[in-house]
């Protein structure tokens, strides 16, 4: 099952293009990292998925429906915006009551239990809370409506390491409990490696890398060998070279593979998610996208 499908998706604000020709499939039940530099279109993509914007080109479907203007669908989507919008003068209890009044499905008990577990006092005003607590309150509001899809825009950006861990702990427990599909954007790749199973890299308004993280890591490696004069060395098992670093004596290549590397001249090392993402971002022309056919097969399995 596929939770989110974008096909030729594009969005422009006046003359400025925020997203162009984006195609991807996000499987149900996955935790997807949406990664890219500032201004790459991450927020726009999440706003389109949340139904808060209508695309200017192409289509996006969420749970096989079109999110903009589909109120029933929107009630199944939880969205936490980047600036964690809450009413500062409300108490935590009033904020939860607000969530209860504004949503069709609402689990007040669950939301209250979450606050108790995190020791966030219900009678405290929101503006008196720490950044980490505010993030937890907005997460509780998004989860209180029992969404099938949870979209988090840069949830970790303003949190200290401990608050980050606490936040992701709640998100991951939710993922373990239900069949929820989660998409979270970030530019901190290292934070995402242990929580996400799928990856979408956006750069300059386009999708650059889409896939299951394990498959992507298995399909790339770093080759280290003696300095190589040829600009595009022909090595059996290498589909394309993503990044190349030369020193006088050594050449190291981050490559996408299509078979085992048996050439004894090259020592093959595994690649980390962070290195992989940074290598692609440094070379916007390179892509690792599934073919359209492969994409629909992947979602069927």
């Amino acid at each position: 099952m596929t939770a989110i499908v974008a096909t030729g998706l594009g969005m422009r604000y006046g003359k400025r293009v925020a997203l162009r020709d984006c195609s991807m499939e996000i499987p149900s039940g996955s935790v997807t990292a949406l990664v890219g530099p500032n201004g790459a279109g991450k927020t726009t993509l999440l706003l389109l998925a949340a139904g808060l914007l209508a695309p200017t080109a192409g289509t996006i479907t969420v749970l096989d429906r079109t999110p903009d203007r589909d109120v029933e669908l929107i009630s199944r989507i939880g969205f936490v915006a980047q600036d964690v919008p809450l009413y500062g003068s409300f108490t935590v209890a009033e904020m939860l009551r607000f969530g209860q009044k504004m949503n069709h499905h609402w689990d007040q008990q669950l939301a209250q239990q979450r606050m108790e577990k995190l020791q966030i006092p219900l009678n405290q005003q929101v503006h008196e809370l720490s950044g980490g607590q505010r993030a937890q309150v907005s997460l509780a509001l998004a989860l209180g409506k029992k969404p099938d899809i949870l979209l988090l825009d840069e949830p970790l950006a303003s949190l200290d390491p401990l608050a980050r861990r606490e936040f992701m702990r709640v998100v991951m427990e939710t993922a373990a409990d239900s069949k929820i599909t989660i998409v979270l954007s970030s530019h901190l790749v290292a934070d995402l490696e242990r929580v996400c199973d799928h990856l979408v890299v956006l750069s300059s308004s386009r999708t650059q890398v889409v896939g299951e993280i394990g498959t992507l890591l298995d399909g790339h490696c770093v080759l280290v060998g003696p300095h190589c004069d040829s600009r595009e060395p022909d090595i059996a098992g290498v589909a394309s070279i993503v990044e190349r670093t030369d020193s006088e004596r050594q050449t190291s290549l981050l490559v996408r593979t299509n078979g085992p590397i048996l050439d004894p001249k090259w020592i093959s090392e595994p690649v980390t998610l962070e290195d992989l993402v940074l290598a692609y971002l440094a070379r916007p022309g390179a892509t690792a996208l599934p073919a359209p056919r492969a994409m629909s097969q992947a979602s069927a399995s």
């Binding site: 991951m172 427990e173 996400c196």
Partner: protein
């Protein structure tokens, strides 16, 4: 009950680290047949990692016949792992010493030997995991 921990710097995939820790606990007797592994939610709650990673590790242990998932109850240890018998261990140690001697004679420094061993372990374990 065992507690998992993760080494982010090791470069070893998270699910592989979990598998290794269970195997180690089985070998050392910390886990015995009938013992329950932490539930997916417990592991996720303590390590803040993706639940699919835990499921993948448990599936792998299940494939190896070491544990069994019982629907609605949890994952239980089926059998323990015994290390090789003492005489076998002594023989392995002997052959390693012989190899080390020849490596040192060939001019490899102890550091270089360690790098060799690291690379070889990675090659071999990756093959067995894949």
């Amino acid at each position: 009950m065992i507690h998992f921990r993760l080494n982010a710097q090791s470069g070893v995939a998270t699910y592989v680290q979990l598998v290794h820790q269970v195997r180690h606990a089985l070998r050392s007797g910390l886990l015995e047949p009938g013992d329950q592994l932490p539930t997916v939610k417990e592991v996720v709650g303590s390590l803040a990692i993706n639940p699919n990673t835990v499921l993948k590790a448990y599936r792998e242990l299940e494939h190896a016949g070491l544990v069994e998932g019982r629907p609605g109850m949890g994952t239980f240890v089926l059998r323990s792992l015994e290390g090789p018998p003492p005489d076998k261990q002594a023989a392995l140690r002997k052959s390693l010493q012989r190899w080390l001697q020849s490596a040192l004679e060939a001019g490899l420094s102890p550091d270089a030997v360690l790098a060799f061993v690291d690379a070889a372990i990675r090659d071999v374990t990756e093959d067995s995991v894949a």
